[in-house]
Symmetry: C2
Subunit: 328 residues, 2 copies
C-alpha cells in the first residue's frame, strides 16, 4: 500500500506539496515533474477514505429506488449513472424493495455516509420522508413525483395522458375503460387520470368507466377480467402503465378476444417490450434515461449552489402501433 508520504519521499518534497499537486494547486514545474514521475512509478492512487475524512465531503450521490427490476427504474438509474460518471461523481444505489421504511432508513444512511446528495425515485412522499430530508440537510432531487418544496424531475403525466385521450377519441373510440392505479400515487394514479378526463371533456358522446389495478401484471389480468365481465363492453382499455396493458393483453388472449379487432389497448411508459410484442402496443413513451440524466445534472448544480428550477418536466411522445383499432 503506497501513500502520499511515499510519493513525497520519492519525489523529495513535502506531503503537502504532493497534496497540492493532486488537488490542482500551484506547484513549480520542476517539482510537478518529480511528483508525476513518482506517481507513475508507483501507480499511486489516493486513499478515498482519508480524503473524505479530512474534506468532510464525498463525490457520492445516493440513489434510492423502490425496485431494480423495472424498465423505468433501470433506465432512469442508467441515465443518472452516466451523467454522474462524466462529472467524476459516483452513484450509490439503495434498492428498497418497495419498502417505505427502508426508503427512510436509506436517507439517513446516505447522509451518514456523507453523500453529497440524494436522488429518490419517488412513488409516494410521506411526512416521514419530509422529516428525513429536513434532518439530513443535503440536496435532494425527486424523480417521478412533484413536490411543493423539493426539487423534482417529473414526467409530463398530465399532458401525455391528455394527448393519449385525444388520440383515442380521434380514432373513434367512445366507450372507454380507464384502468388506473391508486390515487396515493399522484403521478400515475392522479395525473394520468386527470389528463384523460380532461380529454373527455371535449367529447360529449363519450362514455367512460374507471377501474383500478395494482402495478403488476397478474393484478392487471384480474382487473381486465373484471372489466370483461361487467357488461360495459368498452371498445378500448386505456391503461395507466405498459405493464398493466401487458396484463390486459394477456387476459384478452386467454379469453379469445382479438386485439385490436375486438378490443383496443394502450399503455404508458414506452418499455422496449411494447415494440416487440404482437400487436405492438400504442403507448405514451417517457424518457427515463433522459430524466435520470436531468436529475443528475440538477443535483450537481445544487451541490455547486447554483439555482435549479423546483420542477423540471421531462417530455413524452405518443407512439402509435397496432393495438388501437381505427373506428372512423
Amino acid at each position: 500500500m503506497i501513500t502520499i508520504s511515499d510519493i513525497a519521499k520519492i519525489a523529495g518534497v513535502a506531503k503537502s506539496t504532493v497534496s497540492r499537486f493532486l488537488n490542482g494547486g500551484s506547484v513549480g514545474d520542476a517539482t510537478k515533474k518529480k511528483i508525476e514521475r513518482a506517481i507513475e512509478e508507483t501507480g499511486y492512487t489516493p486513499n478515498p477514505f482519508a480524503q473524505s475524512l479530512k474534506a468532510k465531503k464525498t463525490n457520492i450521490i445516493g440513489t434510492i429506488i423502490p425496485r431494480l427490476d423495472s424498465y423505468a427504474a433501470s433506465h432512469t438509474v442508467i441515465g443518472i449513472d452516466q451523467q454522474l460518471k462524466e462529472n467524476n461523481y459516483q452513484m450509490l444505489i439503495s434498492n428498497t424493495s418497495q419498502n417505505i421504511e427502508r426508503e427512510i432508513e436509506s436517507i439517513y444512511s446516505f447522509s451518514n455516509q456523507k453523500a453529497a446528495g440524494i436522488i429518490l425515485l419517488a412513488t409516494e412522499i410521506t411526512p416521514a420522508h419530509e422529516e428525513a430530508f429536513e434532518a439530513v440537510q443535503i440536496p435532494v432531487i425527486l424523480i417521478g413525483q412533484e413536490h411543493a418544496h423539493m426539487h423534482s424531475v417529473i414526467h409530463d403525466d398530465f399532458h401525455a395522458s391528455l394527448s393519449m385521450g385525444q388520440y383515442v377519441i380521434e380514432k373513434g373510440h367512445r366507450k372507454i375503460a380507464y384502468l388506473g392505479v391508486t390515487e396515493k400515487d399522484i403521478a400515475v394514479g392522479v395525473k394520468r387520470k386527470r389528463g384523460f378526463q380532461k380529454a373527455l371533456e371535449d367529447c360529449p358522446d363519450c362514455e367512460a368507466r374507471y377501474f383500478e389495478s395494482e402495478f403488476n401484471i397478474p393484478a392487471a389480468q384480474q382487473a381486465a377480467e373484471r372489466i370483461f365481465s361487467c357488461n360495459f363492453n368498452p371498445s378500448i382499455i386505456v391503461c395507466a402503465t405498459d405493464n398493466i396493458a401487458l396484463g390486459v393483453l394477456k387476459a384478452a388472449y386467454q379469453k379469445g378476444i382479438r386485439v385490436p379487432a375486438e378490443l383496443s389497448v394502450t399503455g404508458f411508459g414506452g418499455y422496449d417490450i411494447t415494440e416487440v410484442i404482437h400487436p405492438g402496443l400504442t403507448t405514451a413513451k417517457f424518457f427515463y434515461h433522459e430524466a435520470g440524466a436531468t436529475a443528475a445534472k440538477n443535483m450537481l448544480k445544487l451541490i455547486d449552489q447554483e439555482e435549479v428550477e423546483i420542477t423540471s418536466i421531462s417530455k413524452y411522445q405518443i407512439i402509435e402501433r397496432e393495438s388501437v383499432d381505427i373506428l372512423v
Copy 2:
C-alpha cells in the same frame, strides 16, 4: 456533527472505551449504560470513513455488471444485494455499458476503494481481467462464466440445453435451426450449443443447421429472416436466449408465419415477459436471483477465509408453454 469524543465526554469515559463498546469488546455494565444513553441522546453514528481508514477494510462488495437494463443482470444484482444486506455488507454497483476496458478499470477502482471483494457478472474473461484480479489481491467471484482458477457461480448451460434438445426431439421436431451467439461467450455461445448437439447425438434422423446472432432483438430478427430465406425450412428455431427468441417471434409475425402452427420457437433464460406474451415462450429458466445470492454467500465465506468450491452450479428448469408445436 457528533463524534466519538463527544460520546466519550458525555458518558464520562475514554474514546477507546466507547470504541470498544461499539465493536463489541468487553465493557462494564455501568459504563455500557452510560455510553448507550449518550448515543441514544445524540443519535450518534460512527463516521464510516474514519472507521475504514483505520481498520483498512470495508464492508463493501463491488459488483461489476455489463448492463443494468437486462432481466438477467437486474435479478442477479437483486439477489446479491439482498444477501449482502442481510449480512451487513454493502453492494456497490459499477455499470460498464458492455465496455471491457471499463470492467478492468472498475476492478482497480473497487480495489482502491478497499472493497472487501468483487463480484463480476462475466461475459468474457480476458488476460487483462486475469491480470487485474491477480494485482488487486481481493476475493473475486464470477457469475455466469466458469474459470479454471477463479471462483464462479454458473448456470447449468450444458444440461439445460441438453434437456431442451431432448424436449424438442421428443415433441417430434426433426428439422431444427439452432440460433446461437459468438463462441467468445463460453457459457451462452459454446455450452448451450454443445448441450444441444449432445441431445442430437441420440437422434439419427434429425437434421440441424446452426446460425448466429447478436444478443439484441433487432439482430435476432435479422437472423431469423436469414433462416426463413435459406430454404432450410425448419419446424423449430431453438434460440440461445429469450431475447433472441423474442426477435424470432417478431420476425415470424411480420412475415405472417404462425407460431407454433408453422414454426416453433424456444428460448433460454425464463424472463418474466416470456410468460406474458402470446403464445407463451417455452424456455429453459435460470435462477438469476438465486445465483446472485449464492455468489454473495460464497463471497462472504471467502472473506472469512472459509473454503468455497471453485465452481457452484445453479439449476435450471424447462418451462413448457405454447410456442412449441407437438408433432407426434
